[in-house]
């Protein structure tokens, strides 16, 4: 009997002592939970009060940490390139009736343009076709009429394969080669489209030099002076050295590229490259630039959070151990939990950051 009474008494004393030494840990939990997650450890009431004082003074602003931890991936940017405007200047002078192999040059050029326009269908590329040399004939008597016969046969607009096919069937090569005036015509078509929004380019397909006394090099040189930057690319189709030299000079002074074509496949390739390069440049440059801005911002956010957490922990540890602002037993308890939570948060931050950087590398 006396043993039973003794055991009951001891149990009562132990419970009483435990209740005295512990209390609700809610306030400490709330403070720590701001850093990461809940914790089931139990702190004394004294420790709670001591830590709350420290925490109130040293608490960092961790609002950005939520965003940094949640980032976890890098969306990347898919830029919208500038719209492209292309005026094709089509040589229908008499010499285009000549043949490369068994096929007339005019037919090969028409086929290349037809295929080219078909590829532009559904894009934001606006196209126009200006034709020269299809009026009159190549006699001196009809030179003036032929040189003046420059027409926009495919009106500037979206690419329509069927409409283009009809356009290309509507003319035949007969006359002279007014390249300079055709370039002026192309310039007038592009003039309304400013280069902040549009890439404006001219693609001249010709098998010979200017024969209407104009100066095509001077025309392309003057375009920028007159207020509009235009790229003048030139495809010399089955040309001799003299023609190649002049056509190359047009491209060079028109800030464009010169392509020499002597076959159907080379003609197709040269035309396709005009658009490919424009699109590639805009897309790549814009994408890289915007991705870099994004990764810089994300990195700043990440290290802003790292800094906040490190500084908060440092100040609390210095208060605890350098200034001995809490009892030793409380210091040990708080430090243990704080360190554990600190490690959890840091790990989450770095997991998120590393995943984001990996995405950035793949998308840039």
């Amino acid at each position: 009997m006396k043993k039973i009474v003794l055991i009951i008494f001891i149990i009562i004393v132990v419970v009483f002592a435990f209740v005295l030494m512990t209390n609700s840990q809610d306030s400490v939990k709330d403070a720590i939970n701001d850093i990461a997650g809940s914790d089931t450890r139990v702190f004394s009431k004294t420790c709670i009060n001591e830590f709350n004082e420290l925490y109130a003074v040293n608490k960092a602003d961790l609002t950005q940490c939520s965003s940094a931890i949640r980032a976890g991936s890098f969306a990347g940017t898919e830029p919208t390139p500038k719209e492209n405007n292309v005026v094709l200047i089509f040589d229908a002078s008499g010499s285009m009736a000549g043949k490369v192999g068994d096929e007339r040059k005019i037919d090969m050029a028409k086929k290349a343009v037809e295929d080219f326009v078909a590829q532009l269908s559904g894009t934001n590329i606006q196209v126009s076709v200006v034709v020269y040399g299809h009026k009159g004939d190549n006699t001196d008597a009809n030179k003036k009429a032929s040189c003046a016969g420059i027409e926009e046969l495919y009106t500037f607009g979206s690419a329509d394969g069927a409409k283009m096919e009809r356009t290309l069937k509507s003319f035949e090569p007969t006359g002279w080669t007014p390249i300079a005036d055709a370039l002026e015509k192309a310039y007038a078509i592009l003039k309304p489209y400013n280069t902040d929004t549009y890439n404006n380019s001219i693609v001249l397909i010709s098998d010979g030099i200017e024969t209407c006394d104009g100066d095509p090099v001077a025309v392309v040189q003057s375009m920028e002076e007159r207020g509009l930057s235009v790229t003048a690319n030139v495809i010399g189709f089955d040309v001799d050295d003299e023609a190649a030299e002049q056509l190359n000079a047009i491209a060079e002074n028109g800030n464009g590229s010169y392509f020499s074509a002597a076959s159907q496949s080379e003609l197709d390739f040269a035309l396709q490259k005009q658009i490919d390069f424009m699109k590639k440049f805009d897309y790549r440059m814009q994408r890289v630039s915007e991705n870099l801005q994004d990764i810089n911002s994300a990195t700043e956010l990440h290290f802003g959070c790292v800094k906040a957490i490190e500084v908060e922990r440092a100040k609390i540890l210095l208060d605890i151990y350098a200034d001995e602002r809490v009892t030793k037993e409380c210091a040990e308890q708080v430090d243990a939990m704080y360190s554990e939570k600190y490690e959890e948060v840091q790990q989450s931050l770095w997991n998120s950051f590393n995943a984001m950087v990996k995405d950035f590398k793949q998308k840039s």
Partner: protein, 152 residues
């Protein structure tokens, strides 16, 4: 009751021992390092590293990581990632490459690709492409050829 009265002293001693034991458990391993506060410098060192606070800086040093917070800068280096933040420049270096940002420029390099952007010039090299944009021109080159165009 008669028993309790006869053994009051013994029971009291037993209770004191129990309570003292509980306190002892609570205070075991009370401190893990050495801290000091001398003048304006506070330090604390344990097996995790060393924290030092002066009137103008706060820093941490361990075998694997160092960081320092100064009035206008923060530097961080954990052996894998490094970060430097000043009023005008933020720089990151890590296994994936390095990037830097100022109020008017940004750059990136990872050994295979690089990008530099200033208020007047942008250049990119990578993925078998070379791009250059200046106030007067745009240049693009890849394995298929090159392209050059003016800009306003």
């Amino acid at each position: 009751m008669k028993y309790l009265k006869q053994n009051t002293l013994k029971l009291s001693i037993a209770c004191l021992v129990l309570v003292a034991g509980i306190f002892a458990i609570q205070t075991t391993n009370a401190s893990r390092g050495v801290g000091s506060n001398e003048g304006n410098v506070r330090t604390y060192t344990d097996d995790r590293g060393e924290w030092t606070e002066t009137p103008t800086s706060l820093n941490f040093t361990s075998d694997t990581m160092q960081w320092e917070l100064a009035p206008t800068s923060f530097t961080y280096n954990d052996g894998v990632h490094s970060w430097e933040e000043t009023p005008n420049t933020i720089t990151y270096k890590g296994p994936a490459g390095s990037w830097e940002q100022t109020p008017t420029t940004q750059s990136f390099s990872d050994g295979e690709k690089s990008m530099n952007e200033t208020p007047t010039t942008r250049s990119y090299t990578g993925n078998d492409e070379d791009l250059l944009e200046t106030p007067n021109t745009r240049e693009y080159e890849d394995e298929e050829g090159s392209y050059e165009a003016p800009i306003d």
